[in-house]
Each structure stands twice: as C-alpha cells, then as structure tokens.
C-alpha cells in the first residue's frame, strides 16, 4: 500500500470515530416535531364524499377505505370495499401496515368528521403518510350521495352536473333506479395489504 492509501484510510477511520460520538437519529419512527406537524395539519387532507364516490365507481386501485367506527356500526353499514379498524385499535401492530404504508391513498371515515380526524391526527403524528379524511363522514355521504338536494333552477350548470352525478352514484350504490352493485354491509372485494406475520422490530426500538 502507498502512503496516500494510509492517509485516506486514517481519514476514513477518523470519520467513523467522529460518527461514533454522535447521538442517535431515528428517522420516521418518532412523533413528528411540532413544526412539521403543524404544516401537515394546515395542509389539505380531506376527500369529499363526491371524491370518494368517484374513486369507488372508477375502481381506483390506489384507494383504501378505512372505517374507524366500532365493528357493530361497520356491520350495519359501511362503504363498499372498506375495511374496519376501530380508532382504538388503529395503532395495534397487526393493523400497522394498513396505515403506515406508501402504496394506497388511505381515506379514513366515521359517522361525522370528528372521529376520523382524530384517527388522522394520531397516525399523522406518528409520521404516517398518504392519509386522508372523508369530510362529513357517512352522515354527509347519505345527504349528498343518497339524498342529493336538487339545485335551484337558476343554479350554475356545474351544480346540475354534480346533482346528476350524485343521482347516478346513488343508483350505482343501490339507491333508486337500476342496481348495478348491491348495497352490502360487508365489502365485496377488500384491498390486499401485506401484513407481516411477525414484526421484525423490537418493541420501542428504532424499527417502528
């Protein structure tokens, strides 16, 4: 080996020694700092009921609907294709891959906005991304998609187009007119999200 090789190796070793005295940095597995969190909170993270209806009808493969209400409520009625993860179970290890992922746009919903928003805040605070809330929840789903208010005669054309879309969507979801897809309490096809059988990460470790 030449003299320069020894100098380079020594510098390399020195870099390693300096690194050894640095404190741990744990990317993505700690609660977001307040600055980033406020930024996320202020950003647009809502789907309207129309957005959700369009995505379901178009069979948007990037959509994953999560019903954060209780299993009893889920059994009574939910959106087609939605899976049920009650808000108090969201952070359980077995559900983690549904909310901490980068494949789907996850839309959380409940009866109103509040519960889903709570779930969104919890998950976003943990650094999970691609999460959205269906604004107004199922209550607004019923009043906009299933019982859309007819626009006034002098309303803009876009209001009529929206109204017609909602009427067509209601028929698609099995309310009035022809029934193309049965309204079912359990989703027909649920998106497949891979869940590891065992977590390779130790509890509370750096592996989230």
């Amino acid at each position: 080996m030449k003299k320069t090789d020894y100098i380079i190796l020594s510098l390399f070793l020195l870099l390693g020694v300096i690194a050894a005295f640095m404190p741990n940095a744990k990317p993505h597995n700690v609660i977001l700092d307040s600055h980033t969190f406020l930024y996320k909170l202020s950003s647009e993270h809502f789907y309207t009921t129309d957005d959700v209806a369009k995505a379901i009808i178009n069979k948007d493969p990037s959509l994953l609907l999560i019903d954060v209400r209780s299993p009893e409520e889920y059994k009574k009625y939910t959106l087609p294709g939605a899976i049920n993860i009650p808000v108090d179970s969201l952070l359980l290890d077995k559900y983690r891959n549904y909310v901490d992922q980068d494949v789907y746009n996850v839309v959380l919903f409940s009866n109103g906005t509040e519960l889903a928003e709570k779930a969104w805040v919890m998950c976003t605070g943990l650094g999970y991304d691609h999460l959205y809330v269906m604004r107004g929840g199922l209550n607004r789903w019923f009043t906009t998609i299933f019982m859309p208010p007819k626009p006034k005669d002098e309303a803009h054309q876009s209001a009529f187009e929206l109204y017609n879309f909602r009427k067509a969507a209601a028929r698609y979801f099995g309310i009035g007119g022809t029934i193309e897809q049965p309204q079912s309490s359990a989703p027909a096809v649920q998106p497949q999200v891979n869940i590891p059988k065992t977590s390779g990460a130790p509890e509370g470790g750096g592996c989230e």
Partner: protein, 208 residues
C-alpha cells in the same frame, strides 16, 4: 436546513438542475475511476481487482457517517428524508439477480450508461436490456410480481437499533470492518494477480 427540496427551499426545476449536475459529476468520476471497464467491475468476483468493493463500501459508510454528523449539527433533518421499508426476501432475490447481471454483463446500471456514452457496444446492449427489464417488470407487475414484492416486510428497519447499539458506534464498527476487509482484499488481489502472471508466463513458454 436540508433536505432542500422536501422543505420547499428549492423548486422542482432547481432540484432537477442540481440532479443533472450531480449526475454529470457522478458519471465523470465513474469514468475517471475506470468503472466503465467491464474487467474492473467483474474483477471483484474473481478476486483480481477489488476496487468496486472498496469504492462502494467507502461511499456507503461515508454517506452514513456524514448524514449522522450533519443531522447532529442541524444541517439536515433526517426525519424528512426518504426512509424505505425493508422487504427482506424480495431484496435478497433482487440482490442475487443484480449480482448475476453484474457478473455476466460486467456493468451495473449506472456504469452501463457511462460506458455506453464512451461508445462501448456491449454497454449499449446492456442498457437495452435494462429498458426491456423495466418495461417487462412494469407490465407484469400486478399479475406476477406485486404479491412477492410486498411480502416479508419488516417495516423500517435500522440495523443499529435492531441489535441495540448506538447508530454512531455501529458506523464505527462498520468502518473498522471495511478497513480490515480492504486490507484482506488487497492481499487476496496480490496473491491472485501473482499466480495469474505466472500462468500467463507459462502459457507464453517463458517459465522462470
């Protein structure tokens, strides 16, 4: 301060321009270091040239140490950098395929582009193969690869946290391992080259 793009300090256009110049620098240095020579790249598998091992090992560890030090100094926020998840079996299979391509073709994706621009026909064929592979994978992703690609997930794994030692110490240990491996690799390289030169002399009928 950093990362610049994630925080909106620089625009997409500036980001692309920076990437362009960094790319030029990377290509220039690959060519200058002789990495567009297939024999140099394949040499690591036969033991007669360990440059690739030294360069990539050093690069990875310098980046790791540098990032940790810069994070501690407040120059870059590691929370905002992309941190991919580990899918161990797909990664292992991908690594084996990559090594096979490396060994048979004598190029890795980056060096093949550099070599193609220097007019090497085998590199141009290699680049053609890369595109065939990309399109082949993309068009068969859903029916064939998707399930496997998302299997055996471990989440975001940090090896240092996983084995329970500070990240800086882990980097130092890896630096020491790297330096030892460089010294061993040098010995192996000298031995093989000495043996090879004797065989070459023998083939030419010039035994000492």
């Amino acid at each position: 301060m950093g990362p610049l793009f994630t925080q909106g300090i620089i625009s997409t256009e500036v980001n692309h321009i920076l990437a362009f110049f960094i790319g030029i620098g990377f290509g220039f240095l690959l060519e200058a270091a002789g990495f567009t020579n297939t024999r140099k790249l394949a040499g690591v598998f036969y033991g007669y040239d360990m440059t690739v091992l030294k360069v990539f090992f050093t690069a990875a560890l310098t980046a790791a140490a540098g990032l940790l030090i810069l994070h501690t100094l407040g120059a870059i926020d590691l929370h905002m950098t992309y941190y991919p998840k580990t899918y161990w079996l797909p990664t292992l299979v991908g690594g084996l395929l990559m090594a096979l391509g490396f060994l048979t073709g004598g190029f890795c994706p980056g060096t093949s582009f550099c070599a193609a621009t220097t007019g090497k026909i085998d590199a141009m064929v290699f680049v053609g193969g890369i595109f065939l592979g990309i399109f082949g994978y993309a068009f068969t992703y859903e029916p064939i690869f998707e399930k496997f690609r998302n299997s055996y997930g471990l989440g975001r794994v940090n090896v240092a946290d996983w084995i329970g030692i500070p990240q800086g110490l882990f980097i130092l240990l890896m630096v020491i391992i790297a330096i030892v491996s460089f010294l061993v690799a040098d010995k192996v390289q000298k031995k093989i080259n000495a043996k090879q030169s004797k065989e070459d002399l023998h083939d030419l009928g010039l035994d000492e």
